[in-house]
Every structure is written in structure tokens, then in C-alpha cells.
Symmetry: C2
Subunit: 367 residues, 2 copies
């Protein structure tokens, strides 16, 4: 087993950078989505933080797949990266197309490659722990398995899918994955936690590119063939080939296209991880990621702008204005130059309805 | 008895325009206090609305007394009024000095004058009812009594002083005032309401100027003499005389200087009124003044800027930005270009602590 945090030869990071993050409006917008934002006040966007935590493992072996509208912004934020490593999807076609295209390119470029896919908009608090798990997963993946990192659940979340974990695989740090299960009810989720046999599926797949594409070819042979054809020739002329061939690809998640049927066949493994992961789905989960002050609300940004009396929750003074909050528990106040959101941590999921309402009212410019 | 809403000969309106309204921050500021603001979204500031509701009774017989810092703004807002009718206090010296100065000027100018004092920052919903009460009070005041309009209490307020009402005065619509009582506890206030013998003291005094100054002279002879000396010569050269003599005047409320001792002597009368009065002390009372929508919060300003889901309370989108509020009951959201307030109707009184905190933090510019 490699030591944590040293580079893993031939390990490539594939970073799908997509998703609007509408439940994080007004911080996240269509034209400046969640992954381009510094949501936690760390000084780095979620995309940059994703790059930073992977670079010790993969050095410059990155492929980022993003929407055409965001390609320039991604290249601008990852200024040490070769712009050719940022692939632009002509339109969103879900995760199998994005990650499969990267796999097809890597299959040609590096026969010894192992790739790991990591969303650009997740947050991880224990980075060495994360890198140790990825390193372990890469070892297991070299045995031609599809490996997913199984996050230790810290509460009975109904917002994430789960893995059902089977017996340990002899001679490795991995375990058999019995099945993938969809987002459960809270009661079912509590049962999962109590059993100790379930882990969160964070979509972190580690796999040899050829293994991934060959698995895809078993259930979707045309899809695998088309991806390999698009990648023929590498990144030279790739955007022209995508302009012609991308729209015909199926819209399907990698989980459904490959991971679930592969689990049924017994070729999916998991490596456990417990490194403080969150997909920052809404302001409630964002608040949880921030240290809790002894007194007053959590603040992202300039604390001096916030005057709080008898208040807890989350305040984001992102418009440079003074924000005064009096007598509200678990409130969420997000102040931006053109839009203000006031809600509670409990109701934070409903922010996407505000975005839908604004679009219906002809104010899509604000979303 | 005069018919309501026709002019009352020799009736003068004296309008003290002062008070910072810190519990209405950030709408009310030191440099643009409550009375200069259109708090209810009527299209007229509280000062202008005060003028509008009195003009049918007094025509152009107004004297406004305000702080030197606000004189230009007051003159600007009351653009039909002779600027000489707006008196500038060099410094705040409480209500006896302000109203007494007006009385001393009117005593010289119009021997038949009856004056009524009406704060510039109160709201009245039934204007004909108000004018009928003032007309009645002027009749009673011609009998050389100090007349106060006694507002019928609509709830057990602990924020207002009360009048204890005695027997009817023969041959008029007035009643004897037995005593003025300070702001009570809630239990005491409930007793007042149950007795039917108490009314709110809104500081609306109607009186012949000479009667007021002669009453003042009984308990504060120097004060009455000094006011008459300042007024000698009328408004010509008045500001120069004020610059020399104003600071020496006592700081005392008219209630304490005259009304309370005069009640003990049996020379104070009251005329009842029930015309929807409020002093707009905080955002809770401001919300009460606005019609309650069938669904959603009350809005002052552009309703189209507010997107509310599962929310009641008060939203003021005064910065032109979209304000989205999700899942909060009885919330108060006041959005201005340089400061944002979020609180609840229940905690609205504590807004003055925010202002104190900002001053302590060196941000008096925002207050």
C-alpha cells in the first residue's frame, strides 16, 4: 500500500464540473454555478479546492469535463493546468457521457492509467484521509474492478444514495459491493446506519478506463463504441468531433449505465472512507461544514459586516453591506448585490422553488 | 359644533418634527429620520401626511418646529408652505420649549388663536374622524382649558401614557381629565381597558396660546418669560434670538411642565377620539398599520420584488433588489441600499440595540 499523499503513478483525476446548485441561490447562479464559487470562505472555489486536494496524488494528470458556457471560467480558475485538459461538453448529457469520454481519451493516452472521478462541487475536510482512500482504491482498481469509495454515513441522510457493502476482498483493502440503493426514506436510512453495512455513494469511481468502457459495452455497446470513436485522435480536433457526435449520446448516469448492473455481476468493490465529505446540497449542509461559533451565527465573508443579537444560523454578507439580524434561530441570510435570500436551515431545501418562481416570473436573469 | 373637515377659524397647527426613530432603522436614520420618510408606502412622508390631514382644518396656519439639521428637508417636503413657518431649534430641548415657542409666536400674531400640537411622525387612518375630534377640541379650548385628545385604546399597550377621564363637562363634548399616568405594566394596562375610564395620551394638546403660557408661568415663570422674550418681534430675526437664548431653556416635556400639574388643578379637558392612531414606534406597529394580505407578508414598496414562500410578517424591498423569504412567520426584512435588517415582529423593539452597537463599532455613518 502506498503511503498517503504521495503521487500515485498513472493515476488520473477526472473532474466533472457541472450542476447548477439551485438550492444555493443566490450564491450559485446558472452563469456562476456552485463549483466556481468559494462557498466556504476558504479563498478557493470548490473547483479549485477539488484540484488542490487531488494534485498531490495525480500531479498534472487531470481531465476536467464542463459545459461549454463554463469552459473559459474553469480554465481561468485552474491557471496551472494545460487548457487542453479542460473538455467542453456541447450540452449536458449526464455523467456517463462526461466520464466515459474522459475514459476513452485516457484509454488511448496511457495504457496503464487508472482514473478516479471526483465531482468539482463537493467539500472534504480531512484531505490526507481522502487521499489515503483514493490511493487504496487505485490499488484495488488495478485488479480490474470498478471501485467506489464508500463514505461512512454520519447521519441518516435522505439526500444521498447508499452502497450495500459485502465481504472483504482477500488480499486488498476493498470490499465487495452487493448493490447500490437509491435515496432512502429517513426510517430506512436509520436502519442502514444501525446495520453498519451501508455507506454513502459519493460518485467517486476509481477504475481502469478500459475496464469502465468494456463494462459499458456489455449493457450499452453503441454508447461505448461512440465514445471510443469520439476520442480517436485524442484532444486534437476533439471539439469538432464533439460538435458532430455529442448530441446523439444517451443521457444516463454512470450509476445506472454501469455501476448498478456491474454490482449485480459482482465486479464492483468499495474502499471505505471517513474524511468529512459533503456535497454542499443546500445552505443547511453548507452551515454544517463551518465551525460553530461560541456565540452568534456562522458567517461566510467579512464578520465585521454582521451585527447579530440573539441569533444563530448562517449569514453571508456578500454584498458588502451591513447585515443586522435580531432574534432568529437557525436563520439563513444570504445577501448578494442583486438578490437577498432569508430562510431557515430547516427550509433550505425549498430555495430551489424560489429559483423556479423567479424563472416563471420572467426573472431568469437573477437565477 | 362645526361640521367635520371644514376649516376652523383661527385654529393653528403646531407640528413638532423631531425624534430619530432608531427602532425603525435602517429605514429611519439620524439624517433622514422617521418623519421625513414614507414609511407606509402612501407616497407621502409622515410629515407630509401630517400636513395633509391638518390642512383642511387650518388652511395655511402651520408652524413646524424641527432641528436645524432637518429644516431644509422639511421646507423642501412642505413646498406649499411659507418657509418662515418652519422654525429651526438650534438643539433639541424637548417638547415644552418647541411647543412653547410656537405658542409665544402665535400669542402675538393672532389674539384669537387656538393652537393644536400634532407630532409629525404619527399615523392616523380615519382622517375625517381625526378632524372632527380636533374641531371639537378647539371649541372646548376656547373655554380656556388645556384640551388633550384622548385616543380610545384598542389594546393594553405598555408603550403609551394614559389619561384618566372624569365627568363630562356641561355644555361641551369634553370631559374632565383627572390625571395623566405614565406607561403602565401590561396588567395595569388591562385594568385600564376594562374600566373604560382611560385613554391613550397621544400628546395632541389643543389650547389657546396665552392659556398655555400662563399655565407654564404658574410652575415655571422664568421659562414662560424667556419664551415670550424670544418670540417678541415675531419670526423676523427669530433665528438670531434663538442662537443666543435657546440653550438656556429647560429640557422638559410639556406633559410634565404643564399638563400634569394643570390636571391636578382641574383645568385639563379631553375630547374622545377613535380614529386609528399609531405612533409607529417599531416595525411591529408599522406592520399593524398595513392591510393584512390573504397570503404572504405585508410589503412596503414594490410587491414584484418580493418572492415569499410560507412566510408572514413585513418585507420592505427598499434597495430595488429581489428579496426572497422562505418559511418564516412574523419575520421583518428591511432591505436598504447600505444596510439590511432581519428580525421578527416580536423582537422589533431590540432594533435600537443594533443602532447602539453600530455606533459603538464606529459605524455611526449607517445610523
Amino acid at each position: 500500500m502506498s503511503s498517503p499523499s504521495s503521487a500515485v503513478p498513472h493515476l488520473w483525476a477526472v473532474v466533472p464540473a457541472g450542476g447548477a446548485g439551485t438550492r444555493l441561490w443566490p450564491l450559485s447562479r446558472r452563469h456562476e454555478p456552485k463549483f466556481l464559487r468559494d462557498l466556504t470562505g476558504s479563498g478557493r472555489s470548490l473547483l479549485q479546492a477539488t484540484h488542490d486536494r487531488l494534485a498531490p496524488l495525480v500531479e498534472d494528470r487531470f481531465l476536467v469535463v464542463t459545459g461549454a458556457a463554463h469552459r473559459d471560467a474553469v480554465v481561468g480558475q485552474l491557471d496551472g493546468l494545460d487548457p487542453a485538459a479542460v473538455l467542453a461538453e456541447p450540452s449536458p448529457r449526464d455523467s456517463m457521457a462526461a466520464i466515459g469520454l474522459a475514459a476513452a481519451l485516457l484509454e488511448q493516452r496511457d495504457p496503464d492509467a487508472v482514473m478516479g472521478s471526483f465531482a468539482a462541487d463537493h467539500v472534504i475536510t480531512d484531505e490526507p484521509g481522502f487521499r489515503a482512500a483514493v490511493t487504496e482504491a487505485a490499488e484495488v482498481a488495478r485488479g480490474d474492478r470498478l471501485v467506489t469509495i464508500g463514505i461512512e454515513p454520519t447521519f441518516a441522510s435522505t439526500a444521498f444514495g447508499y452502497l450495500q457493502v459485502g465481504p472483504a476482498l482477500p488480499g486488498s483493502g476493498g470490499y465487495q459491493v452487493e448493490a447500490f440503493v437509491e435515496k432512502p426514506t429517513e426510517e430506512v436510512a436509520r436502519g442502514y446506519l444501525a446495520s453498519g453495512r451501508y455507506r454513502w455513494n459519493a460518485g467517486m469511481f476509481v477504475v481502469r478506463p478500459t475496464v469502465l468502457l468494456d463494462l459499458l459495452a456489455r449493457w450499452h455497446p453503441d454508447f461505448a463504441r461512440d465514445l471510443r470513436a469520439l476520442a480517436a485522435g485524442g484532444t486534437d480536433g476533439l471539439q469538432d468531433r464533439l460538435a458532430r457526435g455529442w448530441e446523439a449520446l444517451p443521457r444516463i448516469a454512470l450509476d445506472h449505465a454501469v455501476a448498478e448492473p456491474a454490482a449485480d455481476e459482482g465486479v464492483v468493490a468499495t474502499v471505505p472512507g471517513s474524511f468529512g465529505w459533503d456535497d454542499v446540497g443546500d445552505f443547511d449542509s453548507l452551515a454544517t461544514l463551518l465551525p460553530e461559533p461560541a456565540d452568534g451565527p456562522r458567517v461566510i465573508g467579512d464578520q465585521a459586516l454582521v451585527t447579530a443579537l440573539g441569533t444563530t444560523g448562517l449569514v453571508v454578507p456578500a454584498a458588502g453591506r451591513v447585515v443586522a439580524v435580531v432574534g432568529l434561530e437557525d436563520v439563513v441570510v444570504v445577501d448578494t448585490p442583486d438578490a437577498l435570500l432569508v430562510t431557515t436551515r430547516e427550509r433550505a431545501q425549498e430555495v430551489k422553488q424560489v429559483v423556479a418562481r423567479l424563472v416563471a416570473q420572467g426573472r431568469a436573469d437573477l437565477t
